[in-house]
């Protein structure tokens, strides 16, 4: 379809399972009836694991589910459930916590 504003070609994208049209020139976005609500719903469920992307195969197994109040996902990571983990070296304070009431 053509952009109603600048009349350039619009391309279809998939955002969290919602089809949206974006103008290749002015980057404006066109939403069909109900799509704004669908995006809002997806956003409000941000804590739930996102549906798998339609094309790219999953390179890593999905992280287990975590609650919405949990730590934010690590930057760039597609999963939710914790941003720290301490890498190879556990934080000393957490090492102690593992063994205390």
């Amino acid at each position: 379809m053509q952009c109603p504003k600048c009349h350039a070609q619009m391309h279809t994208y998939n955002r969290n399972g919602v089809q949206i049209e974006q103008c290749s020139n002015c980057r404006g976005i066109f939403l069909d009836y109900g799509e704004l609500e669908a995006l809002t719903r997806v956003e409000s469920q941000w804590s739930q694991p996102a549906p798998p992307p339609p094309v790219a195969p999953q390179a890593y197994p999905a992280a287990p589910v975590a609650p919405a109040w949990g730590a934010p996902a690590p930057h760039g990571g597609g999963h939710h459930g914790g941003g720290h983990y301490g890498g190879h070296h556990r934080h000393k304070s957490f090492g102690h916590m593992l063994f205390s009431s």
């Binding site: 983990y85 304070s93 957490f94 593992l98």
Partner: protein
């Protein structure tokens, strides 16, 4: 460490137990713990524990009896009834090898999950008191508020007040309860016989009838706060499910069942951390701040009340 009379005599009693004699020996007693709520001394293959002051003998007895009758899950005591020493109840145990605190990566998450599943599946013996998890969380929060003002108190107490009354020890836990450990962490697992026997749960002080999700909630809280890596959480949860543990559905999202208890354990751990940091006159470290931040986030997401626990 100063040797107070209880500690000295506890060591003597453990020695007498270990050698079935009171004559001098060349072993040296080791103090495994000396906290206000417990003093634990090891002598050779025997461990003597002085329980918290004010421990109710009528509540400790059925807990000890359960451990004695469930040796595949809990370390069995050496004697069925407690002794009394300096006004404290004292129990005797075989020594078991703990998880090495210097090597938490070697934590037996599978064994922990499997043992809890087994514990939760046994029928609750008549007379077993309630599990003390919520009471301990309430105690931690009470100590926090008594410690004076601190910038983190509002977030921790706010998250606490949003919990249902049963999770704050202000109402009975949801029915039907299961037999729960009540205070699971990595210090509660030992191998008996040492050093390579099977893993067993220790510490019966908080054992009792309650919501089994509570026993999964501390690792769950660590995972939710971004402290426990996902694979360790998965190993623990999968082993629990493989053992037929009733606290969570056999598959799918476990959080509806875990949410309230994991919030409570996050609050409890945050409260302890803030109290401790304040007592030491230092600011919160990175890990402690993660817990407080999680408490703050809880305010914007109301607790998930599982259908049968919405009381």
């Amino acid at each position: 460490m100063t040797v107070h009379p209880l500690l000295a005599e506890l060591a003597l009693r453990a020695g007498a137990r270990a050698h079935r004699t009171v004559t001098a020996c060349s072993c040296r007693a080791a103090t495994l713990a000396d906290r206000p709520d417990a003093t634990v001394v090891r002598h050779a293959d025997t461990v003597a524990k002085a329980h918290a002051p004010g421990t109710d003998p009528a509540a400790l007895a059925p807990r000890l009896a359960l451990a004695a009758g469930l040796p595949d899950v809990l370390l069995a005591p050496l004697a069925a009834t407690p002794a009394e020493l300096h006004g404290r109840l004292v129990t005797f145990w075989p020594y078991g090898d703990p998880v090495d605190p210097a090597d938490p990566d070697a934590a037996p998450w599978e064994a922990a999950g499997a043992l809890l599943a087994r514990l939760h599946r046994i029928p609750a013996p008549a007379g077993l008191p309630p599990m003390r998890g919520p009471a301990k969380a309430a105690h931690a929060v009470a100590r926090l508020t008594a410690a004076g003002p601190h910038p983190a108190v509002a977030a921790v107490v706010g998250a606490w007040r949003a919990l249902p009354a049963w999770a704050r020890a202000e109402a009975p836990m949801p029915e039907p309860g299961a037999v729960c450990h009540g205070d699971l962490h990595l210090g509660q697992l030992v191998r008996h016989p040492a050093p390579d026997g099977p893993w067993r749960l220790i510490d019966v002080d908080d054992l009792g009838v309650g919501l089994p999700a509570w026993d999964l909630a501390r690792p769950a809280a660590w995972y939710a706060c971004g402290l426990l890596p996902p694979d360790e959480w998965t190993r623990f949860l999968d082993a629990y499910r493989a053992g037929g543990g009733p606290a969570v559905p056999a598959s799918g999202d476990p959080w509806a069942a875990l949410d309230v208890a994991a919030r409570a354990l996050t609050v409890q751990t945050a409260a302890r951390a803030v109290t401790k940091s304040a007592a030491q006159g230092r600011s919160l470290d990175e890990v402690e701040q993660c817990l407080v931040d999680a408490c703050a986030r809880m305010g914007s997401v109301p607790p998930q009340l599982a259908a049968d626990s919405a009381k």
